[in-house]
Structures are given as structure tokens and as C-alpha cells.
């Protein structure tokens, strides 16, 4: 009995050490504790047209189904020019979130409010301790401004 307990303890300890050895490209983020599957979506050179984010490789960043939701933990935004731009993150369904559109950040606004800094200075970087939740089945879209377009990266995890 004692040996079994010791073996179990050693196994548990090894699992604990292994926790720190998970490769950074693991499905779950390197910080390792998010209760879901990591995702990263982005959009480049977005002007004054609400545009759905894409995944790496060009696929659409569609809303998850089966009662899963996207939890946004990190956002990076940068203007594509030497002058700052503005953006707002929204969600919806259909082509470029055209149906059931609502705002995620800032959720009280309907026009671009947050700054994407000029491409001569560091970008806007946000890390949310408490993630922003996108309703199930909803796509994530971004709206910028016409003259100084925005490049945006949104990451987080998918979970119920």
C-alpha cells in the first residue's frame, strides 16, 4: 500500500513538472491554464468596412458551434500608416457580421473608438485578466477608419 502511494505521488510530481514542459505550440496556450482550445484570428488593413477576422492561412474566423464560445484574452492593434487609426471590435453572423451585429469592445459604442497607434510606435496591446466573451455562434469582426487602416490580432480560447 505504502509503495503504491509513493508511486502515485511520484507520478503526480512528474505530471506537475511536465506541466511546465508543454511546448509553446500546444493546442492550449503556453501559460497552460486556459480552460479551452487556443485560437488566434486577425485582419489586415481594415478600413471603414466591418470585416470578419480570418485565421492563419486565410480561412474565416467563424463563431464556434455546439454551445462553445470564444473568450478573448489578448488584442494587438496597429495602424498601417504613420498616423494612428481607430477601431472597434464587433460580432455578428452572415457576411462580415452583417446580421445581428453588436459590439464587443467598446461594447457601448457603434463606431470606431479605440486607437491603433501609428506604425512608428508600439502597438496597442491588451491582456484581459477576465476575458471578453463572444456569444456562441457569433463571428468576430473589426471596423476601422478609412484613411489610416488597422491591422488587428485577437487571441484567446474556445470553451463552453
Amino acid at each position: 500500500m505504502k509503495r503504491k502511494l509513493q508511486a502515485a505521488a511520484i507520478l503526480a510530481a512528474l505530471m506537475g513538472i511536465g506541466y511546465f514542459l508543454v511546448p509553446s505550440d500546444s493546442t492550449v496556450q503556453a501559460q497552460g491554464t486556459y480552460p479551452g482550445i487556443a485560437f488566434a484570428c486577425g485582419a489586415d488593413d481594415i478600413g471603414a468596412t466591418l470585416t470578419r477576422l480570418k485565421i492563419s492561412g486565410g480561412g474565416e474566423c467563424l463563431g464556434p458551434v455546439d454551445n462553445n464560445r470564444r473568450y478573448i484574452t489578448d488584442i494587438v492593434a496597429q495602424s498601417t500608416t504613420a498616423t494612428s487609426g481607430l477601431w472597434i471590435l464587433r460580432y455578428g453572423t452572415g457576411t462580415n457580421c452583417g446580421t445581428g451585429t453588436a459590439s464587443i469592445l467598446p461594447s457601448a459604442a457603434t463606431v470606431a473608438r479605440l486607437v491603433a497607434p501609428a506604425n512608428t510606435i508600439v502597438p496597442t496591446v491588451m491582456h484581459f485578466n477576465t476575458p471578453l466573451i463572444v456569444p456562441t455562434g457569433k463571428d468576430i469582426c473589426v471596423l476601422g477608419v478609412a484613411t489610416n487602416t488597422t491591422t488587428l490580432e485577437v487571441s484567446g480560447y474556445v470553451a463552453p
Binding site: 505504502k2 502511494l5 509513493q6 502515485a8 505521488a9 511520484i10 503526480a12 510530481a13 505530471m15 506537475g16 513538472i17 506541466y19 511546465f20 496556450q29 501559460q31 497552460g32 491554464t33 486556459y34 480552460p35 473568450y71 484574452t73 494612428s84 481607430l86 459590439s103 469592445l105 467598446p106 461594447s107 457601448a108 459604442a109 473608438r113 479605440l114 486607437v115 497607434p117 501609428a118 510606435i121 508600439v122 502597438p123 496597442t124 496591446v125 491588451m126 491582456h127 484581459f128 485578466n129 477576465t130 476575458p131 471578453l132 466573451i133 484567446g156 480560447y157
Partner: protein, 148 residues
């Protein structure tokens, strides 16, 4: 036996993540107000009795030049107080300030982003209000969780 239990305990400590970023320690909540001036404005009402709102993240952006803001708690009309936390209002951030002191970044630079870990608790039974700047309106997003 004791040694085995100790090893198990240490292993559990190794795998523990405390208040890891991205984990929600209660029911997630978020509120936002757009383009407000220096009138305290309700962003979120008090949760159910026995529950409190905890603030973990704030994003603030001026819609013009940099403007000042403050966060308050108080009682709004729904709780038998006046409008916009005006009854028994108290400063939540920055505590002790007699006027809005924190800068919301101008509309040409990256927004003001604040993170709190541990979270800042809004006292139970109190509404949550934000106040902006008289000359430059401010847009806010506040995120956190609700727990006892």
C-alpha cells in the same frame, strides 16, 4: 505515508495556477459607456445580495485630447438613491481623489489599459459608475467577475 502525502501536495502546488490570466473566478461581467463627460454615469448596477462585482480590466480612450476619469460606487435610482450613483457616492479608483485624476489616452495614442490582479471589489449593494472629462468625452470598457 507522510512523505507520500507531502509529495502529492507539492505536485498539486506545481500544477496550481492561482489567479491565472484568462481564468474567470466567478460569473464574467462587462460594462461599457460611450463618450461620456464629467457626469457620473451608471455602468453596472449592483448584483444580487451577497454578490459583489470585481474589476480586473479597464480600457479607457478619450475621443479628443487626453481626458481625466474616475470610477465610483454609489446608489443609483434603482436602489433607492439618486441618478448615476449620486447617493452616498464614493471613489473606487483612485481612492481618495477629490476629482478625476487618471488619464484616458488621447484619440491618437494607444488607450489606457489597466489590469488588476487581485481584482478590485465593488462593495456589495452598490452600483458602479464612471465619470469622464468635461472637455474631452471618454469611452470605457470595464471587465471583471461577480462572486461573493
Amino acid at each position: 505515508m507522510r512523505r507520500a502525502l507531502l509529495i502529492v501536495f507539492l505536485a498539486l502546488c506545481l500544477t496550481g495556477d492561482g489567479q491565472a490570466r484568462g481564468r474567470i473566478l466567478g460569473l464574467q461581467w462587462t460594462c461599457s459607456v460611450d463618450a461620456i463627460n464629467d457626469s457620473a454615469t451608471v455602468c453596472a448596477s449592483a448584483p444580487e445580495p451577497g454578490q459583489r462585482r470585481y474589476i480586473t480590466d479597464i480600457v479607457a480612450q478619450s475621443n479628443g485630447l487626453a481626458g481625466f476619469f474616475a470610477l465610483y460606487h454609489g446608489k443609483a435610482a434603482a436602489l433607492g438613491g439618486g441618478a448615476s450613483c449620486s447617493t452616498s457616492i464614493a471613489v473606487l479608483i483612485p481612492v481618495g481623489a477629490a476629482t478625476p485624476r487618471l488619464a484616458a489616452a488621447a484619440s491618437t495614442v494607444a488607450p489606457t489599459v489597466l489590469h488588476f490582479n487581485p481584482a478590485i471589489a465593488i462593495p456589495g449593494g452598490r452600483d458602479f459608475c464612471v465619470e469622464g472629462d468635461p472637455g474631452n468625452t471618454i469611452t470605457f470598457q470595464v471587465v471583471g467577475y461577480i462572486a461573493p
